[in-house]
Symmetry: C2
Subunit: 487 residues, 2 copies
């Protein structure tokens, strides 16, 4: 089972990178190698140094990114890890990918890398062409317009704003805003700053700025002490696994969640704070790898349409191929697409796609100084090119299937430790039985050379790059066996 006889998928070649290293070539290692306690002495020294100027409590290791390659990271103490966390799901192709290095080394790109423009007023000569060769190539079906942003939180914040604009414009029925609206908004008062709400889901994560954080309900530490909008929060399904053995219960779960969504629409209408938009993750990536079914999302689409609210699909973590489709929501086969799709992380640039009716009616409504960064778009262009030329989505589906089969075996082997293996593509997870086991399991995996992290309070979150292949699955499963055997 652990062998890779079927590993017919072409692995990505990491070519010689003379510029990066004194060594003539750099190749992905065959396996992890841990040579010190973790964190090692050099990491510990640097953590202490960093702690003099900011809270360093979340820092795990200091990394030697020059030496990291493909799916392997190397820390400053010389420890080599297979990375299944990929910088909180934000590395598209692996470390020091040759196609990305080529972008940086190409003299034609120097100007883009040193002259960051105010994209909203003075875009570069090649901006439209860059949009066409990067973002528009992978635009979700039905969403023909795109707005770039710098990060995931800003993408969500601005998608929420675009939804509110759209909602209020409909309400005005084509009329201009009143003087009262124009004046009151400057003073943070309605009607100009209207009582509108955004529905989100328990366990959801959409970012940590004030608007996005009002839609985030993953962990207390993310939210404590921050003023929040009183916006509706619906339950997100929590399924029983394996799915095929619990069809009826899981369907009932979907129906219960949808019923609450419908109730909340009514409740907030009555509270005079109608729901302008509903925002949801295709898989709750921070809140515990909770999956929603196609049925659930079709119902969400139906209910949002019925209530004339925008349906925003937050694909910051699920987007860019990790689920085996470019966008996770493609798995649902919706008849009417979501109204907006937010992205960031592996996309390198933040932003959101939207339907034409969500285009703001006036300039400067969705706006900031930079509105994204062409320096990231040229890298994204290379990433998209590699994804298609090397058929990485096919590879991710294959490695994903292989990974899930193996996780199910692990689950059978260690039933006292883990359960609920699940995943789409390599966007996969397995639950530990308890929070304590989660901490212990992650720690032991680290010791065996797997860099990984948790989600929710007892889940192991697997977030690989798009070059993660069956041979990497084999290494991961081998190390999981070593770690779990000890427990």
């Amino acid at each position: 089972m652990m062998s890779s006889k079927l590993n017919f998928v072409r692995n990505i070649a990491f070519l010689p990178q003379r510029m990066l290293s004194a060594n003539a070539t750099m190749q992905e290692p065959e396996a992890p190698k841990i040579v010190t306690k973790l964190p090692g002495p050099k990491s510990l020294d640097l953590i202490k140094e960093l702690d003099a100027v900011q809270n360093s409590g979340a820092v795990q290791l200091f990394i030697d990114y020059e030496k990291s390659i493909g799916n392997y990271i190397v820390d400053v103490d010389g420890n080599t890890f297979l990375d299944i966390y990929s910088q909180i799901a934000s590395v598209p192709l692996g470390y020091n990918h040759p196609a990305m290095i080529d972008v940086i080394k190409n003299p034609k790109n120097i100007s883009t890398l040193v002259n960051r423009p105010a994209l909203g007023v003075l875009p570069p000569r090649d901006f439209v062409q860059r949009l066409k060769s990067s973002l528009l190539v992978i635009a979700p079906q039905g969403l023909s317009e795109v707005q770039t942003m710098a990060c995931g939180s800003c993408s969500v914040e601005n998608a929420l704003k675009a939804a509110c604009f759209w909602y209020q414009q409909k309400k005005r029925g084509g009329e201009s805003p009143s003087d009262e609206e124009l004046e009151s908004c400057l003073w943070n008062q309605s009607p100009g700053a209207p009582n509108l709400s955004v529905m989100s889901f328990s366990g959801g994560f959409h970012g940590r700025t004030f608007g996005a954080l009002s839609c985030t309900h993953s962990k207390s530490i993310h939210k404590l002490d921050v003023p929040s909008f009183d916006w509706p929060i619906a339950p997100y399904p929590r399924y029983k696994y394996p799915l095929h053995e619990h069809k009826q219960e899981n369907k009932a779960m979907d129906d219960r969640c949808i019923a609450v969504v419908e109730d909340l629409f009514e409740k907030y209408k009555k509270k005079d704070c109608p729901v302008a938009a509903l925002i949801v993750e295709p898989i709750q990536g921070e809140g515990g790898d909770n999956h929603g079914s196609s049925y659930f999302f079709k119902e969400i689409r139906r209910v949002t349409r019925k209530n004339e609210a925008a349906f925003i699909c937050d694909e910051v973590q699920t987007g860019c191929g990790a689920t085996g489709r470019f966008w996770a929501h493609e798995h649902w086969n919706l008849q009417t697409p979501p109204d907006m799709v937010t992205f960031s992380k592996k996309m390198l640039s933040g932003g959101f796609f939207y339907k034409p009716e969500f285009r703001p009616d006036k300039p400067y409504r969705i706006f900031n100084t930079w509105l994204g960064d062409p320096a990231k778009m040229i890298l994204l262009e290379a990433v998209i090119d590699v994804i298609f030329k090397q058929k990485l989505l096919d590879q991710i589906r294959d490695s994903g299937d292989y990974l899930l089969d193996n996780l199910i075996e692990i689950e059978k082997k260690y039933p006292q430790l883990v359960e609920n293996a699940r995943g789409k593509g390599t966007f996969a997870a397995i639950d530990f039985k308890t929070s304590e086991l989660q901490s212990e399991g992650i720690k032991r995996l680290h010791k065996h050379g797997i860099h990984c992290g948790g989600s929710g309070n007892r889940t192991l979150r697997i977030r690989t790059t798009l070059t993660f292949s069956k041979k990497h699955v084999d290494v991961l499963i081998d190390r999981m066996n070593r770690a779990f055997y000890e427990m």
Copy 2:
């Protein structure tokens, strides 16, 4: 007056850049040159193309950044402008600066440019050293800690959050948060999501995400239709110019504003929504180049201390040298520094400096995937090096004085058109008599080869790079004379 006999300040040499162009050398032009109607036909075509995929209403021109150099931008139609807007005040040294090009061409930096880390968990080997050689070199006095962010809005949002954490921690007096707090915050409810407010100023601008936007009160178009926190808004002084002729009135203006600030602290305490922080710009850069006096800010410092609220100085637009000091608040000679200083724009990286007592007590409270971008920090390091080695702050003070003298002459020459010339360093402005004249003036300046923009509803906002010298002032004033003469 228009000659530059006194131009003893060394101009920045823009050295040959073989990589950038087929031409062997690139040198700043001597003067602007407009060869088409504005926007030119190529810009118009591109605007139309862009408009197929997003609202292009704010786009003025498409720019050929490869051909732009120093303080001059060249558009796709071959028009050359002296740029006194510098991408909404975000270009530190000018276009294609050789020191920044060197950073991109240095093979040692490739890894930093292709491997964007999750800085909060796996920082790069050289992260502490990079902080020490860039941000910590220019940390405002008394603010020994720094947190990087991706953009200005996120910097403000997170500074506000840090203030709320600090405020609530004080209230708990060292106790852990209660179970009720930990649970209620997940549901957007108090006491975990507390009723706290942030005081800001009429005419202020702090960004456009939901938290920052609740502190922004510049223009209706920035705010309309977006739900907002009901937070207190105080008046910002509006002085009469020239200052030395209106000392008494302006002092009275300061006192009236401060009295409202004090009242609002009381009012929001009684509303059970106490003010945790006050955020203010040293010069309102978006709201009309409104300046506050040292006296005003000393009073703000006194009142925030009295009320035990954080004093956040938003230097996103004023920071990084344009006022002739690295931070504009240095002009005030405060005895107690502000508690936090936010930055972005010319700093290339966003973030905020803060006093140690504003460090969050736990990790993951100020956190997101990227937490900034080392690819920007290596550019910032080069920028700071150039600022100090080439004594650019001295140069900016000289060019700024020279600019203000010349603006005062312009004001005398065209009293029916403009008034209230003011500035610190080259962060300068002049008011048109009306909004209509503002539009007309900016349009004519464009035609005469000055790329510029407005602030407020009748102000010409001057935002130069830090390499703007007296010879550039001469060109600007010459073109202003041509434009205003026609009006």
